[in-house]
Symmetry: C2
Subunit: 136 residues, 2 copies
Amino acid sequence: MGRTRSEPETDAARYAYDGLDRVLHEKARLGILTSLLSNPDGLAFNDLKSLCALTDGNLSRHLRVLEEEGLLMVEKGFDGRKPKTHCRMTALGRQRFLAYLEVLERVVRDALTARRERSAVKARKGNPDGSWAPAT
Amino acid sequence: MGRTRSEPETDAARYAYDGLDRVLHEKARLGILTSLLSNPDGLAFNDLKSLCALTDGNLSRHLRVLEEEGLLMVEKGFDGRKPKTHCRMTALGRQRFLAYLEVLERVVRDALTARRERSAVKARKGNPDGSWAPAT
């Protein structure tokens, strides 16, 4: 135990990732926002449901959260006599999602850098596998 | 409303991101796992607390979840007469975290591709700003 084998990197809050906005950092909502970013004219409720593989109830719940935050607009209308719900990202939604994505990119970059450095250290130590497992 | 302006991309489950493992897809746990991936010899509880900017209680709670899943090992020992807790990622933890990171990379890639395509379309339409906002 201790710091005998290598000096740990311990800069305060180095991995705090404060920018991982909790409203956006949710699996289903990430799917919804990416779908809407990909479809600037918006998407019908049913298309969004299919793209994100969500149930009616789940999609409605997440849309409500995102709409309350001003990240998207939900417009209710008619297609002939059939009710139709259309969703579209707002400028604020786009801005917050892109800021969130920058932090997400940093997480991926940090972790992949860590993996590369670790592989290099292990290769120098003659353990090219690099894995660690408890003795059983 | 409808699909008059552009054909939406609606492949079933295209943005479902099933691989976003809920155990790992949590802001604090992402920080903990990235810290441990960066420090293959493990980290003392206090170093981890500082790196991730977490309270004792929060860090303990997240460590317990990750330990129960077999993703890390928590070893309790002594540094002289002072109790010391040391955390280290397991081989399974490394494997699951790297698999999760692949999906995270896909989210970032999908979203940034969407942004680029959107900018290109808007430029062709003569709206280089590319933003959309509701009329107020």
